[in-house]
């Protein structure tokens, strides 16, 4: 199958905005992702050390409601994101194993940096109560003051650090 091109970014943005609008109109809230990833991490940690997780001052919010930590709207939404991603990649002929990196970076470097950046984001998303989806996109559309501050800070942080990791991408 020949690969389909990516959509024009403005058109993709409008369609994404319509999905976000639909979520607001139906559920009254928007999209998210890091919250669900955290729930998966907490569920995993709970398998290893149930007491340590349940008594933790931050994670205790996920327990005690009588619901499983994964029984949550956002978790199902992110499972949907995964399915939608597979559907998109498959139907475009882009579903194949690979590693995204610049020509000068080694695979080991790239994977190590992906983990390191991920750790930073996981921490940051909990501190900010959301990530690019839940805060910047959703809170941005809902005109939340904190979400706009967050969004500007994300771009600032990215531009400040980009020169330091140029070798990873260029």
């Amino acid at each position: 199958m020949s690969k389909r091109p990516f959509w024009n970014p403005y058109v993709a943005g409008v369609v994404l905005g319509l999905v976000l609008l639909a979520s607001f109109l139906v559920m009254g809230f928007g999209l998210g992702s890091s919250g669900a990833v955290t729930r998966f991490a907490v569920a995993g940690a709970h398998l290893v050390a149930p007491r340590a997780v349940e008594t933790n001052a931050y994670f205790s919010q996920y327990f005690g409601s009588g619901k499983h930590v994964l029984e949550d709207w956002l978790v199902f939404e992110v499972l949907g994101v995964f399915l939608g991603g597979v559907l998109g990649a498959y139907s475009a002929g882009r579903l194949k194993l690979g590693i995204e990196k610049g020509p000068r970076a080694t695979t080991a470097q790239r994977l190590a940096l992906a983990v390191a950046g991920g750790v930073l984001m996981g921490f940051a998303a909990r501190l900010a109560r959301g990530c690019t989806s839940g805060q910047a996109l959703t809170g941005g559309a809902a005109l939340s003051l904190g979400s706009w501050v967050f969004m500007m800070a994300v771009f600032t942080g990215g531009y400040l650090v980009a020169p330091l990791v140029r070798r990873e991408w260029r």
């Binding site: 949907g80 559907l87 579903l95 501190l127 900010a128 809902a142 994300v154």
Partner: protein, 391 residues
Amino acid sequence: MTFPLYAHGLFGTYAGLLVGTLVGVAFGFVLERAGFGRARNLAAQFYLTDLRVLKVMFSAIVTALVGMTFLSGIGVLDLALITVPETFLWPQLVGGLLLGAGFIVSGYCPGTGVVAIASGNLDGVAAIGGVMLGSLAFGFGYGPLEGFYKSSAMGAVRIDQLLGVPIAVVAAAVVAMAVGAFLGGEKLEAIFAPRAGALVPASPARVKARVFGGFAAVAALALVALALPTRGAATPARAAKTIGPLELAREVVMAPETLWIVDLRPGAAAAKERIPGAMVPPATDEQAAFAAGLAPTRRLVAYGASGAAVLPDGVRKFLGDVYVLEGGFEGWTSAVLTAPVPPVNPTPDLVARFQLASALHARFTGAAAAAPVEIRPVANVPTGPRKGGGC
């Protein structure tokens, strides 16, 4: 008002989860088609060679914002029922800087990382694994972080309300700002892409004209809608959420410093017996005007004798989140002050619920803990949580 639909009580838990999955499928599909399953497309934003991230994100924000503004302008959507993420200024500023740094180092943000995994990119697996570790690190390091995490709490602040202008005006300003950023961004691409030996991203003028024209048209219609006579003026300024008695009891024990509890029953009843820590408005203050001045960093829980009382003006003017206790004081009496009955057919869920109820009952009445649950072998104990799943 037709929207949001959930306000009509259409969705039980499972219907809601199904809607969530469907919304997610659409979200994931569009992110993939936008090119966001690939780190190089995302990283290009920060080297100014391809500002795809800016274009997609701001087009999406503008679309949802002008859409909501227009629909509320013609009286179809009740904006007061749309959740606005709460503002915690400093944690969100610092969190944003760190997340931006993590974004360019890992090549993905949490949502696009999931799409990268879905497209088969192993660096996405590494990034999401990192996000999981980072979330756990935050939780286990929470002790010293808690103070900062909860600092500069401003409640749900919407920019239009902060500025005191109609939302249609802010939406129109955001459209203007976004179109300006898009055109400026394309100028930057034209400078930086050739320097990096990359092609300047194609951007057909016809598509731009249609998209930008569409934004401007809907924003203009929303501005025109300001002239419409306001309908549904009777709806309260902000819908109060509800909280169950057990949930409230748990909060009263675990985190009393996060609550304001206001007893709205007539004076005599409130004087006799109240939820611990509840405030009773003085007899001269029928509208509970004092509540409007309470610090909005806490949640305000109001209760009447039974059911949802009509909220007095003072409570509705409270700037933070307002909750109404389900069942009022009667609900509290039957759920917390009455000894719970052990489940006849104990499933793990029911036992957990019973444990909570009896512990809270004992805590609030001083009664000895209830009789133990009779344990019989259970046929289908759910196995451990599914691990990983999409991530």
